[in-house]
Symmetry: C2
Subunit: 389 residues, 2 copies
């Protein structure tokens, strides 16, 4: 079982803080946006007497309301096609376990969300990465890269759209390409759409929008990022494939039920106004624009403009981003501050890739992003000098 | 992946209710005891703004308070030896996954909690049941039954103490026997102590009380039954084995964090008075006494007196309890009521065992238990007549 690549720097960050250094956390996707009061108040004003198990698939009232949410996103499903999970994490795990046998292979464009590795280990399946590159902004790799990677043991493709860690938003053309591949090779298409609501350039094309792959597509979803409610641990697995639903229900029944208090919050979120995301999206877009322009203004740094989510990948003018990220926390400070970044190497399945790249989560307001970028600029200068000496 | 044996009767119960028949639910361990107001109020009065991820091992403040809880139960652990999980379910799954490799075998005295099967399938391990029998009240099977079942692939023994489904409370002598076996064969001892606080005959001997097996014992725990908070989904894996803790932490990090709102409730529970369980235990003891005496007064029925938990197993004067339980819901009613029982066959790993046994959860007040037993008495008469005709 692999350790979390982001969390290995945590002790260094803690030591920096103990020394009195302020640390700008651009390393982790924990949004600073407030959880809508409507969600928390629903829990605070609840008046039940016994905190009982819910239905293993989640409360029916919540699932019925979720169908309306999905309907507005152009996804036509009924409440029996939704299984509420303990975070998006459990949706991914259940999807892997229900659809794949030990020894099966899944293809994932890299860089990818590092915890897919962990869930693959838990399900006994092998991840076959195919590489997307920073020069194309991490677009979907060409179709022949998929063809080369497919073996008789390949059972699924996993995408995250918009993408964590790259922020890339797949185009309609790319989604159609994926459809073609999964149909041709009879694969599942697992689509992690945790960041669906955060698209800044063009429309979100869900895997659930594709017609003709109803039996292939399994949507993995979560309220964590959407409503800034990461600690709720409420997600959903959504599919029109009845036999997948039947198998997932067995896993769901084994763990009895998803969290009850947090389902109240999730259901309350269905009452948010349709324009709720406008403000949040405007805020994230401002941050993205700030971050991307500041990064590209630093000599030797390159950061493609991400179309969605709240992550950006940047290439740094150095050889070992892991060492640099540790140095930032261990050694560096500017005006009493430093920053924490996620080295990109942990997001690649192929050994040696992404060594000079980092992921930045724009989960701080733009003022803090400016200060963090001031730090980064000075840090890169200082690091270069130190390396040269 | 096996389906839940209890839930297969659910559609029949729903149909009975639609016909207007009252159903006494003795089939599932959902207590009717109110969740202590202190727990729910802590959530209702919380005033944070962002529902963030907690530490993957659970909030440190909660884990520190849990050490005091365990201390009072004679279990000396520090907060780094506790990993907060999403219900006891996840503690079981993490224990299996962290300690066992696919193909390994675990020995479990049967009848046992049916979901162990599900978690074993998820972890790719094989359950080897050894049989405990109703004639001894489901005492631990003799040591040579363990010896016969142990193979080179055996890696662990799983016990549930006090036991679900039998209510059996293991004696100090039996716990010492288990210690001897795990030491001799270098096995893990997984101890599910979800019902620790509900012991009516004698003292609870935790696996964590045994000395000399610090590296072997993994405690799986939950607040679900203890505080009637099944829907919270807060449990814990506790062990003094550092390498198990390290591996479990990787699984914990992959799923990010346990539920946040419910951890507030769990932590608040640490403020309940020491005598909190007295009332609850007195209530359960009354129900148990009612249930057991009523059962044993029915001709042909035998129910050993369970020492703990809130379950009893009974042998019925018939051949196929599965068919009878379905008939109760499909066909029978007395004064407009019927009852739902859990057929015991689903709790046995060995095919064909427990066919004439049922599990009864005494999660209803004693008045309802009396009414349910009236139903059962009449039902057994009617069923006998119907079978004979």
């Amino acid at each position: 079982m692999p350790a979390s690549p982001i969390r290995k720097l945590v002790p260094y960050a803690e030591a920096a803080k103990k020394r009195g250094t302020r640390v700008y956390h651009l390393n982790i996707g924990q949004p600073d946006i407030e959880t809508p009061k409507l969600l928390l108040d629903a829990v605070r004003h609840s008046d039940f007497k016994v905190l009982e198990y819910s239905h293993s698939a989640g409360n029916e009232s919540y699932r019925r309301k979720l169908t309306e949410y999905y309907g507005k996103a152009g996804i036509d499903v009924n409440h029996n096609q939704i299984i509420v999970t303990t975070g998006g994490s459990e949706a991914i795990l259940f999807g892997f376990m229900a659809c794949l046998d030990p020894g099966d292979e899944v293809i994932i464009p890299e860089p990818f969300y590092a915890n897919y590795n962990g869930f693959a280990v838990e399900a006994g399946v092998t991840v076959k990465p195919i590489t997307s590159v920073i020069e194309t902004g991490f677009a979907l790799p060409p179709i022949d890269e998929f063809e080369k990677a497919i073996t008789p043991r390949t059972k699924a493709i996993v995408i995250c759209n918009p993408n964590n860690p790259t922020g890339y938003l797949y185009s309609r053309g790319e989604m159609e390409t994926l459809k073609k591949i999964v149909l041709q090779h009879n694969l599942f298409l697992f689509s992690d759409e945790a960041y669906r609501e955060f698209c800044y350039e063009g429309e979100h094309i869900s895997a659930m929008h594709l017609s003709g792959v109803e039996e292939n597509v399994v949507l993995m979803d979560t309220i964590s990022k959407r409503y800034s409610a990461c600690g709720a641990r409420i997600g959903a697995l959504v599919t029109r494939n009845q036999s997948v639903l039947d198998t997932v229900m067995k896993f769901a029944q084994a763990r009895l039920s998803p969290p009850g208090l947090a389902q109240i919050a999730g259901e309350a979120a269905m009452g948010l106004p349709d324009n709720y995301f406008d403000t949040t999206k405007a805020e994230y877009r401002l941050r993205r624009d700030t971050l991307v322009s500041r990064l590209n203004a630093i000599p030797g740094v390159y950061c493609p403009n991400p179309g969605g989510a709240f992550y950006a990948m940047a290439k740094l003018p150095l050889e070992d981003a892991d060492a640099f990220c540790q140095w930032l926390l261990e050694t560096f400070s500017y005006k009493g501050s430093t920053l924490m970044l996620a080295p990109a190497s942990g997001f690649y399945g192929t050994e040696g890739l992404g060594r000079n790249e980092v992921r930045l989560a724009y989960v701080l307001n733009s003022e803090a992003i400016h200060s963090a970028m001031d730090c980064l600029e000075k840090a890169l200068e200082a690091y270069k000098m130190e390396q040269a000496s």
